[in-house]
Symmetry: C2
Subunit: 324 residues, 2 copies
C-alpha cells in the first residue's frame, strides 16, 4: 500500500472547525482552543482477535467502533468531540480498499458530531490489525462530569438499555441463538455499532455535580469505579435496570449480560436528588432515554450493592473479558 496515496484519499477536503490552522499534511496538527473552554483528550486501542474479530466484523464496523468508543469517553466527561487522529498497524493481508472503507465509516460517524480528522499514522505489522484512535474534545470550563462527584443521597441513573451489546456478541460467536432474526440483527448491531451518548453527556454537564462513566466494561465495573472515586456506597435495584424486552428469552443467565456485559457505551451516573426531576425532564425533551436504577446510600462503606427482592448483595467489579 502506498502511504502517500492513502493520506491523499483520507485527507478531508474541508474542515468543520475553522480554528484548525494545520490538519493532515505537516509533522503535526495545529489548532486554537476556545477561550473559556477546557480540552478533553483520550486514546483507545483495539486489536484484532482481542477487541474485535475481523472474521465477524467488516472493516467499516471496526473503524466505526474504534472511533465510537473514544467519542463515548468524551461523552462520559460531559464534553463535545472536535478532532480525531487514527493510527493503524496494518497486516499485509489487508488491502487498500478495506482500509479506505474503515476511514470512510469513521468519517461518516465523525460528521454526525462535526469532528475533523487532523492526523494519524499508518504502519505495517507482522501481527494482527491494531487501531488506535485519539479524540480531542472540549467542555466549558468547570463543567466536567467526574467519577468523583457522587454524594450520599444522589440518584443513580443510566441511559438507554443494558446488556444488548454483550448479547449481540454472544449471538455473533454463536454462544447463544434465537429464531427471531430481527432481534438477532438488532442486538448484533448494538454490539458492532454502539451509539456514543454525547447528547446525554451534554445535558449532564448543565448540572452542578454529576458523576459520570460510560459503560465499556459492564455496569458493575463502572459503578464500582464511581464508588471508589467518590468514596461512597451505591445501592442498585435489579428490577429497575433497563434492558431489551426480549433479552430474558435468550439465555437463562441473561442478567449477566445486564450487569457484567460491557460495550453498551451507555452512560451511568449520579445526580443530586434535587436536580433529578428537572434532569429527567430535560432528557425527555431531547428524546434521551434515562432511567433511575438506585441511589447513593448513606453508608460509609465504599461498595456497590445489588438489591433484588429481600436480598442485598455486594456487586463486585467484574469486567468484560472480550473473547476469553
Amino acid at each position: 500500500m502506498d502511504e502517500f496515496e492513502l493520506i491523499k484519499k483520507i485527507t478531508p477536503s474541508s474542515l468543520s472547525h475553522r480554528e484548525v490552522e494545520i490538519g493532515i499534511g505537516d509533522d503535526a496538527a495545529v489548532y486554537e482552543s476556545k477561550a473559556g473552554y477546557e480540552e478533553i483528550v483520550c486514546v483507545d486501542t483495539m486489536v484484532d482477535g482481542v477487541h474485535f474479530l475481523s472474521s465477524h466484523s467488516s472493516p467499516g464496523d471496526i473503524g466505526y467502533k474504534a472511533l465510537a468508543v473514544n467519542i463515548s469517553d468524551i461523552a462520559a466527561m460531559g464534553g463535545y468531540p472536535k478532532f480525531y487522529l487514527v493510527s493503524l498497524a496494518i497486516p499485509s493481508g489487508w488491502n487498500e480498499s478495506a482500509i479506505e472503507t474503515m476511514y470512510e465509516e469513521m468519517n461518516k460517524l465523525a460528521k454526525l458530531y462535526k469532528m475533523d480528522l487532523i492526523g494519524g499514522d499508518t504502519v505495517s505489522t507482522n501481527g494482527p490489525l491494531v487501531i488506535t484512535v485519539t479524540v480531542i474534545g472540549e467542555i466549558e470550563k468547570g463543567k466536567v462530569c467526574l467519577r468523583s462527584h457522587a454524594q450520599p443521597g444522589d440518584v443513580v441513573f443510566v441511559t438507554g438499555e443494558l446488556g444488548s451489546s454483550s448479547a449481540g456478541l454472544a449471538l455473533l460467536l454463536e454462544k447463544i441463538s434465537t429464531k427471531d432474526e430481527g432481534l438477532a440483527q438488532y442486538l448484533i448491531e448494538r454490539h458492532k455499532r454502539p451509539k456514543p451518548q454525547i447528547e446525554a453527556g451534554l445535558i449532564c454537564s448543565h448540572y452542578e455535580r454529576v458523576a459520570l462513566n460510560d459503560i465499556s466494561d459492564g455496569l458493575a465495573n463502572e459503578l464500582n469505579e464511581i464508588a471508589v472515586a467518590s468514596r461512597v456506597s451505591i445501592d442498585i435495584y435489579q428490577n429497575m435496570i433497563p434492558k431489551h424486552a426480549e433479552l430474558h428469552k435468550l439465555h437463562t443467565e441473561w442478567e449477566k449480560f445486564v450487569l457484567f456485559g460491557g460495550e453498551d457505551f451507555e452512560l451511568v451516573g449520579t445526580i443530586s436528588s434535587q436536580d433529578w426531576e428537572r434532569f429527567a425532564q430535560e432528557c425527555a425533551d431531547h428524546q434521551v432515554s434515562v432511567t433511575q436504577i438506585g441511589q447513593v446510600s448513606q453508608e460509609s462503606d465504599i461498595k456497590v450493592f445489588l438489591l433484588s427482592g429481600q436480598n442485598r448483595v455486594p456487586l463486585e467489579k467484574k469486567g468484560y473479558q472480550h473473547f476469553k
Copy 2:
C-alpha cells in the same frame, strides 16, 4: 498483568503543568490551554519487527524512542511539548517489569521537557508489541514553522550531523562492522536514543518564516516534502552536509546513510537569507549546532538537486526502509 496495578504504578505523583484538571484516572484527561497559544498534536506508532527489534533494543530504548519521535514532530513545528498519552498492545511474552521500565524511560525523557503523562491504554495482543504515543504541545499563535514556508533565495540548513542513526542501525544488524568500539557505541546510541531538537525548533519559531521538517525518513525525503509543500526548487551541496568525521570509514556507500538514512531526528529547514546570520548566531549562543547545506533556488521546477563537483543531479524522494 493487572492493568489496574500498572496504571497505579505509572500515574505521576505530581504534574508539571498546573493547567491539568484531570490526568490519568477518569475516562479522559482534561486541561486548559493558554490564551494566545495554539495546540499542536501528533501521533506515531512503532511495531516490533518493523520500527524496532526487541531482540536488539531494550524495553527502555523502545519506550524512549517511541516518545522521542513524537517530541521531534513537535520540534519540527517550532513548538514545545506539554503532554503525552501512551497506548500499548502487549504480547503475552512481555512481563510487567519490562513494561514498567518502558514507562520509566519515557518518564525520564518527558521530565527533560516538563511533560506530563495524562492518559493512554494498555491492551493485550496475539501479535508483536505495538506502541502508539500521542503528544500535545503548544506554540505562540502565528509562530508555527510549516513545510510550506520556503521561498526562493532562502538558506537551507540542518541541525547536528546526518547519517549516524542509520549507520548505527547497520552496525546493530551487523550489515557493517568496525573495530572502533567507541564509534560503534556512539552510532548505535544515536540510533536508539535520538535527541529531539526542541531547542532548535524554538529558536526557529522566533523568526518570521522558517520552513521546518524533522529528519525521520532521510534528508532527501524531507527536502522533497518542503519543495512540494512550498512549490520551490532546492539546491544542496553534498560536501556541506554535516556528518560524523569517521562515517566514511564504515562503508563505501556511506553517503547513502547521509542522504537517505533516516531517524537522525535532526531538523532540516529554510530561513530567509536576511535572517540567516542572526539565526546562526542565536543557535551558537544556545550550543545548537546548525549548518547551511544549500539554498532555495530561483527555478520554477519543484525539485531537489544535489550538487557535487560539476554535477547537479535530482535528489529523489527515497525513504527509509526500516528492516526491509
